[in-house]
């Protein structure tokens, strides 16, 4: 039994603020001209499922906690959080005097309302660890039993069992706090006109054109530096690049095929930045259905594929080659994981052992991917490489809605899947993607069922953060890689162009240009 650990994160925050004090004094004012590749589907934290929506939501709303640049949860609306010795009860003390954009003061009841509302939204998994949440989500209970308002400024969250990344969930934008009266007055219209406590308040949104935010002078941290933020919505990457070069955008992403040329361009060199993010691009099989219920066949493919061409040529070395499943930027990543190496001889032997020497009797194998230029090129590389061991791939390009359907229902036998962590913890990769409890749409689309892996993941999820916990995940990860239930191609990176006058923009491993999920209240313009 550990002794009572009361964590006061406020201390951590003060220390960090001191450490990252900018060399220059920030200047107030100006408009940041940012850009998205697609229209955000919603600006309501309960209904968002994508990073574009999150990028706006994080500016307009606050959560109890937020992540700092090292991806550590630090206090936001909560002043402090106390955790019970058994790791099951979290008590959050709210900052007094926080105001919504409407001027009303934040109360503990807003937390309960926001969480229960969001639990019946599109990301219920954020709240399902709280006692009684499953019953509430299914509609069998009128409230989340484990979510209690202690007094005007304190809430207590009780979990069924300890869950190590719980604080990360509380820093996630699905757990943003919304004002009940505004939500109820606006109804579904809240998604088009959000109101929160965030450093920026909503001004306007012309669909497929732009979202405009302005500084909220009454923010609990004091007014932000920027006067306004305009998020343009520009679907074509070449157009975003052209707008950036024409000086109409302050930041954007580096377009396909330009990663090297931009870094050697005299003008753009100092403005380009590439950093690792928390994502992995991989290939998956349906391990329940022939032919890939035979692990030898899956391993044969793993040994026949060489991601080097994809990493070095297609992506110009601007992404990280993968060993295992967890990306290097993720806390808990292990460099000791070994991938199944490129070895065409072994691939041919495995094919023969599985009863298909030279690929005989296999027929063209369908490979599913969702419509996207890069996915298309990668599929063509895979097609060419597998041809060398006698396997023909029949490429099946479907739009997202159709792709996700054939993947979810198990009719796709071999398909691509990218995964980007919602929060920086191995649980969000391995448990979601490979635990047998999550088979199907919940994340385990391989339909992978390995009791040993399940046990390791269950243990890891409940343990306190530390080397022993990570060791569980490493064991599970190596087992999955050896089973070839997933073949990693590479780890994602963010490729961005940021004008020199933009200061204080955090390059978070969670964000991928053109969306910057970093808090823009820290950004200022030097001109």
């Amino acid at each position: 039994m550990r002794k009572a650990a009361v964590l006061t994160l406020a201390v951590v925050l003060v220390a960090l603020a001191g450490a990252t004090a900018p060399a220059q004094t920030p200047r107030a004012g100006g408009t940041l001209r940012a850009v998205f590749g697609s229209d955000p589907p919603t600006l309501d934290p309960a209904h968002a499922t994508d990073t574009t929506s999150s990028a706006v939501i994080r500016q307009v709303f606050d959560g109890l906690l937020e992540l700092d640049e090292t991806l550590t949860p630090v206090p936001a609306l909560a002043r402090s959080v106390a955790v019970s010795p058994d790791g099951r009860v979290y008590t959050f003390a709210l900052r007094p005097g926080v105001r919504f954009h409407t001027g009303r003061e934040l109360r503990a009841a807003d937390v309960k309302y926001s969480f229960e509302r969001a639990a019946r939204g599109k990301r219920p998994w954020v709240f399902e660890k709280i006692s009684g949440a499953r019953e509430f989500i299914k509609g069998a209970a009128g409230e989340i039993a484990g979510l209690r308002v202690v007094d005007g400024l304190r809430v207590e969250l009780r979990l069924d069992r300890p869950f190590a990344p719980f604080l990360h969930l509380m820093a996630y934008d699905a757990a943003a706090i919304v004002p009940r009266e505004e939500v109820e007055a606006r109804g579904p219209g809240f998604a088009s006109h959000p109101v929160g406590t965030g450093a920026f308040r909503f001004v306007s949104w012309r669909r497929d054109d732009q979202v405009v935010l302005e500084r909220f002078p009454g923010h609990f941290r004091g007014p932000a530096h920027l006067e306004r933020i305009v998020f343009r919505i520009i679907p074509a990457e070449i157009t975003r690049f052209n707008e950036y070069r024409a000086g109409q955008l302050d930041l954007t992403d580096i377009p396909t095929g330009q990663c090297r040329s931009v870094q050697s361009d005299a003008q753009l060199r100092g403005e380009a930045a590439v950093w690792p993010t928390l994502g992995t691009h991989g290939l998956r099989f349906n391990v329940e259905k022939p032919p890939f219920n035979d692990a030898r066949l899956r391993r044969a493919l793993a040994h026949a594929l060489d991601p080097t061409l994809i990493v070095e040529r297609l992506l110009e070395g601007c992404v990280h080659p993968a060993r295992g499943i967890l990306p290097p930027a993720l806390p808990g990543y292990s460099p000791a994981i070994r991938r199944l190496p490129l070895d065409r001889e072994r691939a041919r032997r495995l094919l023969a052992e599985a009863g298909h020497p030279g690929g005989r009797g296999l027929g063209p194998i369908p490979f599913n991917f969702n419509t996207n230029d890069l996915n298309q090129r990668i599929a063509e590389v895979l097609q060419a490489q597998l041809r060398e061991i006698g396997i023909a791939l029949e490429l099946r390009r479907l739009d997202w809605a159709a792709h996700i359907k054939v993947v979810d229902d198990g009719s796709a036998v071999f398909f691509r899947q990218g995964w980007i962590a919602d929060y920086p913890d191995p649980e969000n990769f391995l448990t979601v993607l490979f635990h047998s409890r999550n088979i199907g749409a919940a994340g385990n689309t391989s339909r992978y069922r390995n009791p040993a892996v399940d046990r390791l993941l269950d243990e890891g999820d409940a343990m306190a953060t530390g080397a022993a916990r990570f060791a569980r995940y490493h064991q599970a990860e190596q087992a999955i890689v050896d089973d070839a239930a997933w073949i990693s191609l590479y780890h994602y990176s963010s490729r961005a162009l940021v004008k020199r006058h933009v200061k204080g923009l955090e390059r978070s491993a969670l964000s991928s240009a053109p969306e910057f999920l970093a808090p823009l209240r820290k950004v200022w313009l030097d001109r």
Binding site: K122, S192, A402
Partner: protein
């Protein structure tokens, strides 16, 4: 006809792969949440009931609620209609002005170098893929020369309209130019034009006043069909120029299986088509009084 179109869209959507509720959930879908969403979208009801409900609402002028945006479809469409109409009209204007001018110039001296050059350019205009042309124009006039904005609606500024309108209009400029030229050459051979010439009227007056007026009839047809076409054929132009129009909405709605929006947008297109044809008929009457008898 409109009924047939809506039924067709509805059936098409019913057999299409993919579920609107699932598409709205992102990569990680919770079964309970999925079920609730399907209930919210009324997807758990039989197809016939879904369609009947839609038609019933339509009778009251209600196009339903967008799955994706959770707003009335009428609002979703109305918000984008101005941008779409501006672009379509501007592109038509480009096509008519450039096309009629080029066609007339070419017809003045058939077989001349000018004629060949103009008609060659017209065929090029027809043959050039829209997205290709758009990217080239943006590269030259916006990035390299910096004369015009690269993209965007710009709150409705005229400068923002120029490149998308030129891009979208190019295809129809070629068609209109060829139609004008052919039609003019035909008319010029007819008796009343020869009479006018014989009377010694200057060529400018003959062509401009007598011939062109009559030659415009087939041209108007092309424009009428073209207008409906422009409203539909715009998503590529809208994508290249980040123009917030109906074309992009429609492509996104199909991708999201946002059935109410797809149905609503298709209905609007069909209406425009019908109205466009009606306007063409009216234009005939205006240009050529003789068709009044033919029509009656």
């Amino acid at each position: 006809m409109l009924f047939g179109i809506t039924l067709l869209v509805f059936l098409l959507n019913a057999v299409a792969l993919g579920d609107p509720a699932r598409a709205a959930m992102g990569q990680r879908a919770d079964p309970a949440a999925l079920e609730r969403l399907r209930r919210d979208y009324a997807l758990d009801r039989p197809l016939a009931v879904q369609y009947a409900t839609w038609i019933g609402r339509l009778a009251r002028g209600d196009l339903g609620t967008s799955f994706r945006e959770q707003r009335p479809v009428t609002e979703v469409i109305a918000e984008r209609l101005p941008a779409t109409v501006r672009l379509a009209l501007a592109a038509t204007l480009v096509a008519v002005v450039l096309g009629v001018a080029a066609g007339t110039l070419a017809a003045v001296r058939p077989g001349s170098v000018l004629d060949h050059a103009l008609m060659g350019a017209a065929v090029l205009g027809i043959s050039t893929p829209v997205f290709w042309l758009g990217m080239m124009l943006a590269l030259v006039f916006a990035v390299t020369l910096g004369w015009l904005p690269v993209s965007g609606y710009g709150g409705g500024s005229l400068a923002h309209l120029v490149l998308p309108a030129l891009t979208l209009g190019a295809l129809h400029t070629g068609t209109v130019a060829r139609m004008t030229r052919a039609s003019l050459l035909e008319v010029v051979r007819q008796d009343y034009v020869q009479t006018a010439r014989a009377k010694g009227l200057p060529e400018r007056v003959v062509l401009g006043k007598h011939a062109l007026r009559n030659a415009l009839i087939p041209v108007v047809t092309v424009i009428g069909i073209g207008l409906a076409d422009l409203l539909v054929g715009a998503p590529l132009t809208e994508t290249v120029f980040a123009w917030p129009g109906l074309g992009r909405l429609l492509v996104a709605a199909v991708g999201q299986r946002d059935l109410p929006v797809v149905m609503g947008a298709v209905l609007v297109f069909a209406l425009v088509y019908v109205v466009g044809n009606l306007l063409v008929d009216l234009a005939y009457l205006l240009i050529d009084p003789r068709t009044r008898r033919a029509a009656a």
